[in-house]
Amino acid sequence: MKQRVAILLLVLGALLGFAAPVLADAAQAGGDVHIGQTLGDRDLTVIIRRVAEVPGPVHVDVVTHAGSPPGEITLTARAAGAPSSAAKVVLGAVPGFHSGVVHVDRPGPWELAIDEATIPFVVPAIVPSPWENATYGGFIAAGVLLLVALLFAVSGKPVLALVPTAGMVAAAAVAVTAALLAPSIPPVAAPGTQLDPTYDNIMNPYQRTSIVDFSRPPVNLVPRMEGKDLVLSLTDGSTGRPVDDLLVHDSAFIHLVVVSPSGNLRHLHPVRTAPGEYRARLRDPEQGTHAIAAEIARRGGGVQLLRSSVDVSGAASVVPNDGKADVATEIREAGRPSTITARFGERNLQPWLGMLGHMIVVGPVTDGPVSAPIWAHVHSMIPPTPGMPDQPDESVAAYGPDVPFTYSFPLPGRYLVWIQVERDYSIVTVPAVVDVPGAKEVSAK
């Protein structure tokens, strides 16, 4: 009997060793949130660091960029029914990282206010899944029963030892089954990304819902100028109600590209000032009708591109985009992949919005960007580093010098192209014009 117990012990050891990596895989925690914010005259990147414990501190980094005026901003963490926590952050004249710490006292849907901008974020609750409970509970029960069986065995009652031994096998079976099945159990809908976050669904994230399709209706975009600010009103295409469920996608709620009549590009990240209302300042604008395009992702999935135009009163001429790079192009006929490589000379580029580079494509332009049929946003990616789950932030200035893009221009014609990278905390915008030939042969697709 002692020998059998020893064998079971060995088996149990083997099972535990097998189950461990499965559990490690099942436990996933949220990461840092990076959000671009065009707040007044400043272009900021706000990084809300992973919340390690609740109640506890939330570390917030505010990254300023070149040309950002020095001053003071106030960070405030707010949640319904919770005391709000504020911190002042002094932004220096030198662009870079500035830190502040606010406190949260409970999991749930929170809001980080930076002056008049508000960023909704979720403080997750650490809740073990039912299958984790089954796995741990099963192994603990098996361990206790093993001890009981051993006690019976050494005290000379081998027949009695059979009972706890059988129980131990059953408990271990439960644990192993739960551990083995865990990877195949579909993940539950996440509050904040698929479901609207509430205190209840954050505290009980493993409750299943009857919803199968999480996608939401398209969004209507109505822009207007309010003084120097471009104000965007977002409403639901089915109900007309304000859209207040935007996800952080490629490190911003809205990627807003504004092209002036003379072809000057701005890439802004409007701040949320009210449900369904976002705004961004147009500094020193040009007179005339500007083409605008907003890239958004709603909770529940899918990215949308919303195009519109807005009349701006301003100066007759403005300083054009003046970024410098050696731009090498290999342009193929419409429909085939073309490559555009911007060579910046030195390996000191910083990730901007999680990417090595961005290329905005507008065209073919016949009578201006407003009526151009194609509007694209192409990325040059930073290859993922194994073992680094969090994206590198802007403090890592070690990328480049070449920034390649591949894009299949859908139509022949003349395109306006802008390549954007970050260097020395300054966004460099390199304008270019690309002529795309028609297909050599009519290709049936």
């Binding site: 992949p337 490559t339 290859p383 591949t406 697709k445």
Partner: protein, 106 residues
């Protein structure tokens, strides 16, 4: 692990051109593809330039096209750095044909 063989056929009108793509690896990173292209009669495809266009639709990301080296008629070899794990789409284009082959990398 033995390399997986993936074949697909492009059909356009009455023509059907089988392309057989065999990746050297099913892991992300440096890779190379062995390509066998035959015409509708089963003979090795002749002469035309073969270009491989890798893309990752889920990431919204395409890589620069790569021209494959011809080893013998209908037999080509091409190297590609597929730096991310996930579902890739490898478009093989030659003449006016474009054949899209899905490739899952772990």
């Amino acid at each position: 692990m033995a390399p997986q063989r993936r074949g697909t056929a492009a059909s356009r009108g009455k023509r059907a051109t089988p392309v057989l793509l065999t990746p050297a690896s099913t892991k992300s990173g440096g890779n190379s593809f062995d390509l066998r292209i035959t015409d509708r009669f089963g003979n090795p495809a002749q002469g035309s330039e073969v270009v491989v266009e890798p893309a990752m639709p889920q990431m919204g990301h395409a890589l620069a096209p790569i021209t494959a080296a011809a080893l013998e008629p209908g037999h080509y070899q091409v190297g590609a750095d597929l730096f991310m794990a996930g579902q890739w789409e490898i478009t093989v284009s030659f003449d006016t044909e474009r054949v899209v082959i899905p490739l899952l990398l772990t």
